[in-house]
């Protein structure tokens, strides 16, 4: 069963008297273990599609099924619960909580889920080690470099073992070397743990490592290439 099934998805933004069609009749399936990149020029709809799959936004029409469950009509609260339990997010601007340490940021999702302390600690420490942040657990975000902050964000996204990790321009704020290292880490997690990643990006380095590249143009899928 696909992790995400998107059927005739349309998203229209109303801006005053103007209607902007960000996505139009998109059909798409994401299978478990994919390392997929959504690419396209600015305004092509890739972030909109990512937000819709991530239940951060609601479609104007069409359906989104996550693990077979239609999530298009869920309430705000139910969508939040779904994100907490089944989805992981990595944002362009890291978006770590500045008042929490690296450890606490990574732990946050597990705390909200009510995972017992012992298990929580083991999982967070393992994940921080996997993303190369061993020994930096107590640092606050302002004491970490951009690359390190994004690694904390990756640890936070995957520590809850989500069905799907959605990453919106995760390397956009990083230098090329750091970006390369980050993508390698995520690719490794994909290969070793079978984690499913969907990226929205312009970064050729990410595209080069992708196993599937979906090109969007004016809100429609122009090309869907599997490698």
């Amino acid at each position: 069963m696909p992790i995400a099934e998107i059927r005739s998805l349309t998203k229209v933004y109303e801006q005053g008297r103007l209607s902007v069609r960000a996505l139009q009749n998109v059909d798409l399936e994401i299978e478990p273990g994919e390392f997929t990149v959504l690419m396209g020029p600015s305004g092509s709809g890739k972030t909109t599609l990512l937000n819709l799959i991530g239940t951060l936004d609601r479609p104007t029409s069409g359906k989104i099924l996550l693990e077979g469950r239609d999530v298009s009509g869920l309430s705000k609260s139910d969508r939040a619960k779904l994100r907490l339990t089944r989805l992981g997010f990595v944002f362009q601007a890291y978006n770590l909580l500045p008042v929490l340490s690296a450890y606490e940021n990574a732990e946050f999702v597990l705390l909200l889920r009510g995972v017992p302390a012992v298990e929580r600690r083991a999982r967070v420490m393992k994940m921080l080690k996997e993303v190369g942040l061993e020994g930096m657990e107590d640092r606050r975000p302002n004491e970490l470099s951009g690359g390190q902050q994004q690694r904390v964000a990756v640890a936070r996204a995957i520590v809850g073992e989500p069905a799907l990790v959605l990453a919106d321009e995760p390397t956009a704020n990083l230098d090329s070397k750091t970006a390369k290292e980050l993508i390698s880490t995520m690719r490794k997690l994909n290969e070793e743990h079978g984690l499913t990643f969907v990226f929205a990006t312009h970064d050729p380095e990410v595209m080069a490592r992708a196993r599937r590249v979906i090109r969007l143009h004016d809100g429609e899928i122009a090309e869907d290439e599997r490698r």
């Binding site: 937000n51 991530g54 951060l56 936004d57 705000k76 609260s77 939040a80 619960k81 779904l82 994100r83 907490l84 339990t85 989805l87 997010f89 944002f91 978006n95 909580l97 500045p98 008042v99 929490l100 606490e104 946050f108 999702v109 705390l111 909200l112 936070r156």
Partner: protein, 409 residues
């Protein structure tokens, strides 16, 4: 500590100066309220003690026709047996018989009209604090021929301890009664009228002066505690219900003081609301600023799966921490000020020397009354007002659209 409370705690610490200023505003409001209420309670206690504790007692019994014009011949029928029945009441700690008359008092060349009250000194001490109100000399000891004068009356008569006082009055039988007393002491009970024109002699002396035989005008009773007055009234009713007598609580005898005390309670509530309404604007401002500054962060929290009710709780946790600081600081300061007011008093002699309020002579040093139930009410009120002020910012935070919020810089 839950994850929400931990984040809230750190958010409060993030803008330390702003948090301190907000907590200080709330705390100073609480301290001010506690102090003002303590001052007003002290004034209330003084009023109650002056009127009830030193004059009226908790309840009084009269002939039904006596209170309106106080004619000296309207006495309590069969007073000794009434007194005996009341003495057996378990609800009272003291029963004091009294007789009243108006007399012309003269000391040497000076003369003044006075309200003369006859009392049983020993019994009176169990009902009122009159024996403790002596400012010169001693209280009556039951020896015939003694008189104690109010401070103002003594000054008018230029009377000193040991002076002879001539009393002239019309007795109940229509004859002219006159007697010679010796000034045993001078009192000040805080009542403008009783200090300026009041005097006390023994019950036997006034009964002799007014030709009252063993008759009484008034019986004053005191309950074990102010709150047990209803039980005392029930007890009195049980003991003398078959007799045609008028039984009244102090609040009916002096409705002005009773109303003043009630009005003071209402005034305190208004002061409380006013002070905290102003201080709550500080909380509202802080929480709104805190939400607006963190819109992006709150959007991230929601994107990660923090449900709207928990976002609301996060903001309320922050309010709780601010309130706790305010309660500790403000409550502590308020208790300290109220304690100082209670133990050392506030010397207002330069402003209110000799002034009176509702017939009560104001003490030049005003004492407060520290009541922890009042402190608890003030602190609870502060929490409630603060939470009300935080609800709007909290709802705004909970209603944020995560996508739009994360776009904010």
């Amino acid at each position: 500590m839950s994850v929400l409370s931990r984040i809230a705690w750190r958010n409060v610490g993030r803008h330390r100066r702003r948090s301190i200023i907000t907590s200080m505003a709330m705390g100073l409001g609480a301290a001010l309220c506690i102090t003002v209420i303590s001052f007003a309670d002290g004034l209330g206690v003084q009023m109650f003690e002056t009127v009830v504790g030193r004059q009226i007692g908790h309840a009084q019994i009269h002939h039904p026709d006596y209170p309106r014009q106080r004619p000296i011949y309207e006495t309590i029928p069969e007073a000794p047996s009434v007194l005996g029945a009341l003495d057996d009441l378990p609800e009272t700690v003291g029963v004091a018989p009294r007789a009243h008359g108006f007399a012309l008092l003269a000391v040497g060349e000076e003369a003044a009209g006075a309200q003369l009250t006859g009392i049983d000194p020993e019994r009176e001490g169990k009902v009122t604090a009159l024996p403790e109100s002596m400012v010169e000399g001693d209280f009556l000891d039951g020896t015939p021929g003694q008189i104690i004068l109010g401070r103002g009356l003594a000054d008018t008569l230029r009377a000193n301890l040991g002076d002879e006082v001539v009393a002239v009055t019309q007795a109940a039988d229509g004859s002219m009664g006159n007697e010679l007393y010796e000034v045993k002491g001078i009192y000040r009970i805080g009542s403008a009228q009783m200090d300026r024109a009041g005097a006390f002699v023994s019950l036997d002396d006034i009964q002799s002066l007014l030709a009252l035989d063993k008759e009484l005008h008034e019986i004053a009773l005191t309950a074990r505690h102010r709150n047990e007055l209803p039980a005392l009234l029930e007890g009195i009713d049980r003991a003398i219900s078959e007799r045609n007598l008028l039984v009244r609580p102090w609040s009916e005898i002096d409705p002005v003081t009773a109303q003043m005390l009630e009005v003071m309670d209402a005034a305190m509530l208004i002061v409380l609301i006013l002070i905290f309404s102003v201080a709550s604007l500080g909380i509202l401002n802080t929480m709104l600023m805190s939400v607006f500054e963190r819109i992006r962060e709150l959007g991230v929290l929601q994107a990660l799966g923090l449900r709207p009710p928990k976002v609301l709780r996060l903001i309320l946790w922050e309010t709780l921490f601010l309130c706790l600081f305010a309660a500790l600081g403000g409550g502590g300061l308020g208790i300290l000020l109220a304690y100082l007011l209670e133990t050392r008093g506030l010397d207002l002699s330069g402003f209110i020397e000799g002034a009176s309020y509702a017939g009560m002579v104001l003490e030049p040093v005003m004492f407060g009354e520290l009541r922890f139930d009042r402190v608890a009410v003030v602190i609870a009120f502060m929490f409630v007002i603060s939470f009300i002020a935080s609800i709007w910012p909290a709802i705004r935070a909970a209603r944020l659209d995560p996508v739009a919020a994360m776009r904010q810089i």
